[in-house]
Symmetry: C2
Subunit: 636 residues, 2 copies
Amino acid sequence: MGFEYLTNVPLEQAKREYLALVKKNGFAAKTERIPVQQAFGRRTATAIYACISAPHYAASAMDGIAVNAKDSFGATETTPITLTEAQFTVVDTGDPIPEGRDAVIMVEELVSNEDDTITIHDAATPWQHIRQIGEDICAGEMILASGMDVTPVAIGAMIAGGVLEIEVIKKPVIGIIPTGDEIVPPCANPKPGDILEFNSSIFSAMVTGWGAEAVTYPIVPDQFDRIKTMVERACNECDLVILNAGSSAGREDFSAGVIREIGQVLYHGIAMKPGKPAILGCRGATPILGVPGYPVSGIIVIEELLRPLVEHCLWIGSNEVPCADAVLTRSIVSGFKYQEFVRVRMGYVNDQLMASPLSRGSGVVSSFMKADGILEIAQGTEGYEAGSSVRVRLLTTEEKLRNTLVVIGSHDPLLDELAEMIHRDNSNIYMSSAHVGSMGGIMAIRRGEAHVAGCHLLDTGTGEYNLSFIKKYFPKGGVRLIRCVGRQQGLMLQKGNPLKIQCFADLTKEGVRYVNRQKGSGTRILMDYLCGKNGIDTRGLYGYDREELTHTSVAAQIASTSADAGMGIYSAAQNYGLDFLPVCVEEYDLIIPDTAFETAMVQQMLATLKSEAFQQKIRSMGGYTIDCPGEMIEVQ
Amino acid sequence: MGFEYLTNVPLEQAKREYLALVKKNGFAAKTERIPVQQAFGRRTATAIYACISAPHYAASAMDGIAVNAKDSFGATETTPITLTEAQFTVVDTGDPIPEGRDAVIMVEELVSNEDDTITIHDAATPWQHIRQIGEDICAGEMILASGMDVTPVAIGAMIAGGVLEIEVIKKPVIGIIPTGDEIVPPCANPKPGDILEFNSSIFSAMVTGWGAEAVTYPIVPDQFDRIKTMVERACNECDLVILNAGSSAGREDFSAGVIREIGQVLYHGIAMKPGKPAILGCRGATPILGVPGYPVSGIIVIEELLRPLVEHCLWIGSNEVPCADAVLTRSIVSGFKYQEFVRVRMGYVNDQLMASPLSRGSGVVSSFMKADGILEIAQGTEGYEAGSSVRVRLLTTEEKLRNTLVVIGSHDPLLDELAEMIHRDNSNIYMSSAHVGSMGGIMAIRRGEAHVAGCHLLDTGTGEYNLSFIKKYFPKGGVRLIRCVGRQQGLMLQKGNPLKIQCFADLTKEGVRYVNRQKGSGTRILMDYLCGKNGIDTRGLYGYDREELTHTSVAAQIASTSADAGMGIYSAAQNYGLDFLPVCVEEYDLIIPDTAFETAMVQQMLATLKSEAFQQKIRSMGGYTIDCPGEMIEVQ
């Protein structure tokens, strides 16, 4: 196909022109007729009028007799009137009023006589105690306008009005075509080089959530003709088509060429990041959206460019997107030439909503899972300073954010288990954790970003953990230190220890590949300290600059045989079946600002820490010592 | 069964004890294993851990060559290194890194030689340009805790982590049993006395909306043994059972007896209104809720008493219910002995949220459709004064309320058509209308409850419409009068005019039954005036006290032959195929406060009024004259 230059059209312009183009081509909502009982959550396509009145007959509202009110006129306590059998009909509540009767007298007001006549002592008003026809709904009355959501009560009202079928907006069918030679269907044991196809599952769930229907086609290899055939088929079967991957301008990227051959391409390349290589195309009235292969890019492109089309199909007006103002915890620099979508993790700390930018790598689907919001940086601006107030589009509810315990600091797998247990103990409370190392945690607490920081910092002068750092970084106090666990640090080694590493000095042996933790992490500080103590020049350790962010990822590298040794905790080594050379037991504690201490979230965390269930879980993970978790440590 | 005394237990106590009882009996969430692709919107029952890392192999992040970084050490611009074929492997982006290689050098930095060797001018850092195993997700890492909602992105992360099936909370199955001899399945032509069974459709949609599954059983007649058999079957097949109607203490009300025979009844009778006769029962771990037959009572009972059980089954914590503070427009008096749930219509007028109580009749399903919120009046309190600030549970979104045009005043079917057209013209704008007569509309505007009031008030002194009323009720100005339509008022008569009514005097003839509009409505004022002018004593008109709230309902009574004549507009008569004796053409105008005039909603209404489509619709309805609708009428 050769290399094509991409356009760099502003996103808003692209959205506007794309919708206008497909509308001009006839892209519009379709309708269908369905039984009213199946209409919950659907949207009416026409106004709905009652076919019958409700009640559809005049009904007695009481147990008693139905009479002609005129026959009762003049009855009083002193001049009672006696009605003959021909003048009344006995009725129960809900019974139809017989022809010729126009009032009901309650059974309590009747005197029955032996000759089957009835005496009354009060005149009846015409239509008393009768539920009149149409009291609830009149035939011909509009029950629902068009373009309205069908609620449970509306279903009841329609049935009461004799409406059994209604015309609703049809759910648009969205065809999703995954392409790529290296793409394979989801499986548990992929071969090296295989890329698991999960984009279609993400996209499918997204569009289902918007009220559309998704159809996923089989994976198509990178061949122009086969892609073309599949896109044509999808255009025939669906209302919109997503062509996934192959949207950039590389060698095997056929998408734009295919769309151009069977229809037209409005733009290839949008001034947005991630998502730049998106293709806005169509075949007649059927939009075909070329979506980049990286999941995060794909999600943003679908949200920004497909959703407006789906909403047009569903007669959904431009809803206000839930947004909130938050304080940005770190500066973000953004390119001038594009509109950027930055995922942020959010939390209410000290009654202030904070937003912390997450990894901007577009291949990292797990970072999107951790995102609570999206910060849009407009094209033509350079980003935001730390501490500035920014408007963030929420991916979760404010209520959930208010109930989320924000934990930032040193990584330990027990934090995930703690989160699990806290939420089990109190389903209204959530916990989110970010792994930035012990020093990062201290800084997050200082900046007011977190409720809790996990910390295991060795004071190499005193051999004490954490205390001297608290004194140094919080000289005026304001935080508490809570005991969590003692944990076994050591060297994680390949199973069976093939390189026979018995001590620190062995790490310098020829052929030993080390994998390290990032600077600022407690484990890195420990490793630097131990190397110094053992007289090892770390510049001589192969791979010492290879940094991983968690114990688990260090273990994963060793397990994959791409490294031979790394410092980390026993539970991570055990999880990957690695050999483990114990080095020391360190104190892993939690720093909590005074302002957060009394919150229900922190109190729940402390209760969970102290629970037998938590301690049992920790013991089962191995490599931890437990000594009164949840207790406060005296700082001064 | 005899008459049983009902209990009057406070609602909160009943809820608490009911949940405790069924939990003690073993009522709890169930779980099921499903493919991860089907898990969108479900809730995890266990924590989910990654089975494989993502990426699951070390992959090249660039096109170039994979090398052993050591072979490149020392290469600089001045001392290049040449790699032999054995020392490198050509890789594309995404390719696995071959055994023994640990760095990638980008194609742009390579100099290819004729002997198939490659020269480099810079040393490679170990692991440069390689996406490491687990960069996104590490095997063994927790992807989702238990009790979490599965999002689209989470599905992607699970598939990337090699997770193909997960354990989720099973949707509880709710069996709905409609009972009653008079109940019939929905149909378009019910016989007098038949009651259409629509409660099960309402309940079914409600519980579906909460995440449960509904099963509706066939209608069971009022026979103890047949009800018992069906309840036992439902208990065997479902997790919760709703037994509809037969919950009060009347003659044919078997519900409590049936539940008592097969299980137990905790309470029969709750201190709530509507909903008092609810029955809280169970058979072992299966709750059986006896629900009153009136739809509004049923909805409240299900919301208050069933929903907490369903949420327990779904591991849903006690969510904050969306509420808002509003100003009450009219006083509400409530009984001391029960907690009352009053439906209110709401609107933002002049930036103030207003709540107007709706009909409290529990049989009127259409009033629930009009409700935007529920006002709870606690047991032991007597209600609220007009003008007080009340906390209302919202049934709609604040956004929708902010975009809803509130029209209160005289009824005309064209208002429904106007609402339909405004929403079609601008799908973000809604209109709600209440029919309280022309004088009621003026009062609503004065109280700041409405944006618009429909009005057709004849000044019998001047023969002019509306103007003198505006001057009288808004002496300081502050409102505008907008021309809407001229409309034909007249006497609606039975088809073919069997009683030969030719003039007003004929209404006094023996056997003529009149049906009237409510006091304060413009039509009633007109009728009173015309009777006076024609020398008719209205006390002599049979049925003059029989009041209906709309033209349509007056027409419905005449069409049902329960009345012979009534004053109303031509379009209502035409809709029911009635004869019509024209009396006069009146001016139906709209009053709009200055404060609302510039809002987008009012401006949209004016634009729609002026549109050709609206005028065409009005002409097709018949009985209207059109003269510049949407234009302002000079008041002074």
